[in-house]
């Protein structure tokens, strides 16, 4: 189902939970709504479902404005954060609920329910009650129940939040596969960037009720459009005065401009290890943290702190030792503007032609 949202607003009293959000979703896409808790993601999802009424704005499914349609008539499936399974019904009855409402024949209901139970790997659990299931199984039931009436759009509110970290990854992959197999347009809400990057075709970053950026995970990582997105996705350190770094001296005449540097933008090594020595700055190793598969290195250049990682294969650094640092690029921002700046010294000043 093609979804269009235009100028969506929602306020609860004085609090504006959603502010002027507009977007389009193509049919068949799996979209992740990502942002910090309390940013308005769930409100957007609930408005799409019809569980909440927008203060203003339009929601259009398939070219038809659905603002005034109740949830019963929107053709959506909703998976709640805590699954909201009917606790006095068996797995079978839970999945069959939406079909019984439609007054389908007993055989048809049985056929569809058994198909979904098999699809979600719940065979043999049909007669269990929700309290007799594990978290992962409950989520599967919620998923099967939402899919049973063949909705056009599947909405999932923090689908993995209530599950052990260990099974979560497994369930993520499962859900992605399942959604691809069914071919249903889906939107899920999460506050976990790793989850969004791994599962979604496209991510929408929501913060303080605004849509900050929409795009593929790679796009968002590569070209963050706002300082919030840049700092929210991936790891980063904010540097107040970047002009102390070689290559970025020109920025000293722009007070108020800050730089955001990701660990992977920083190359470091013992003196001599970095080829473009002219673009490297000397830094002191402040601290070393062992992170299981690599070292996290805290570097200091004057008062400025930088964070980067060092492979375990390379020679171990000493705290207090000197290293050379080359910053490949930085994400610059001030009150009016933001841009990505490549280190200009990276281009070899005297290329040698043979």
């Amino acid at each position: 189902m093609h979804i269009e949202v235009r100028g969506l607003n929602k306020s609860f009293g004085d609090f504006n939970a959603v502010k002027d959000v507009s977007f389009d979703i193509e049919k068949g896409k799996l979209i992740g709504l990502l942002g910090p808790s309390g940013g308005g993601k769930t409100s957007i999802l609930r408005m799409l479902a019809g569980l909440e009424t927008p203060t203003s704005g339009d929601i259009v499914f398939h070219g038809q404005r659905v603002n005034d349609l109740p949830p019963q008539e929107r053709g959506i499936g909703f998976v709640f954060q805590n699954y909201a399974l009917f606790k006095h019904m068996t797995v079978y009855d839970n999945v069959a609920f939406g079909l019984k409402v439609k007054k389908l024949s007993k055989e048809k209901i049985r056929e569809r329910v058994m198909y979904l139970i098999e699809l979600t790997g719940l065979k043999g659990f049909e007669h269990r009650y929700p309290h007799q299931l594990s978290g992962g199984q409950r989520q599967r039931v919620a998923f099967a129940r939402a899919l049973a009436p063949e909705p056009q759009l599947l909405l999932l509110d923090e689908p993995f939040a209530a599950i052990d970290a260990k099974i979560r990854t497994e369930l993520r992959t499962w859900l992605k596969e399942m959604i691809e197999r069914v071919g249903i347009t889906s939107i899920f809400v999460t506050h976990d960037q790793e989850e969004a990057i791994e599962v979604a075709d496209e991510i929408m970053i929501i913060s303080k009720g605004r849509l900050e950026q929409k795009g593929s995970p790679w796009d968002i990582y590569k070209n963050p459009e706002t300082p919030f997105v840049a700092s929210f996705i991936g790891e980063s350190t904010i540097v107040e005065d970047i002009s102390i770094l070689k290559g970025f001296e020109s920025l000293s005449d722009q007070p108020g401009t800050k730089a955001l540097i990701r660990p992977e933008y920083i190359e470091h090594g013992k003196p001599g290890e970095i080829k473009l020595a002219s673009a490297a700055t000397t830094a002191t190793v402040r601290q070393l943290h062992f992170r299981g598969s690599e070292w996290m290195v805290e570097l200091a250049i004057g008062d400025t702190k930088l964070i980067t990682y060092r492979s375990l294969e390379r020679e171990v650094l000493q705290v207090g030792g000197q290293v050379q640092v080359l910053v490949h690029r930085a994400y610059m921002f001030n009150d009016d503007d933001s841009w990505i700046m490549e280190n200009p010294l990276k281009v070899d000043p005297m290329p040698i032609h043979i």
């Binding site: 019809g50 569980l51 949830p71 019963q72 805590n82 009917f86 006095h88 939406g98 409402v101």
Partner: protein, 265 residues
Amino acid sequence: MRRLWIILTYVIFTLLLIVPLVKIFTGAWEEGIDGFWDALSRPQSIHALMMTGIIVVLVTIINTLFGVMLALYLVRAQWLGPRLKRLLNSIVDLPFAVSPVIGGLMIVLILGPSTVIGALFADMGVNIVYALPGMILATLFVTFPIMVREVMPVLQEIGAQQEEAASTLGAYSWYTFWKVTWPSIRWGVIYGVVLTVARSMGEFGAVLVVSGNIMNKTQTATTLVYQDVENFNVVAANGIALVLAAVSVGLLLLMEWSKKRREVH
């Protein structure tokens, strides 16, 4: 010292609860089965027990219906502001706080024969005060909070999500209520019904004020006991009291059972 306290507790428990029960029982049988039977088969006894029965049935039906509905609206309705909800929520408890006699008095003051509304109804041939409708109203007033207070916490605990899930699956409110909400609240409702029956059966003050206690007309079992005691007809009073006590004990057992079921679900 500790033993003394334990003994004292049991003595008080016995004096307050066991002794009166035994006394009612023996008092009713003081003149043998005939005395008990005569007390019960007096026309005013039969009439009073019937009045109590009618009041209990009607009050329980009305209270269950509107109590459950009010609980639903107080917990779920989004069109009520939170402040208004809180206000309504505290007003619901009013009958618990106000003396039943005052409740009865309010009904007399609003609907009595000398008031505008009372006169209006009297012209239509319906007497409210000093007649059955007033007694039902008075009992309703006294028992109204019971059902609301039993159902509201259950509704709050189960939350709205199951109902929302039902709505996204295409179910409308009536279907959702019976298939999703009702199975969760039914033991609470049954518990409320038992309490309402017990309370409306035993109501005295409000009914006495509203009914005028006219023998064979507006007399209930409790007001008859009161009158028998006033007339030193202790055996008859004990007989009726025994019937009321026996029903109460039965209700108590039912209550224990429903409480247990409620905890299971």
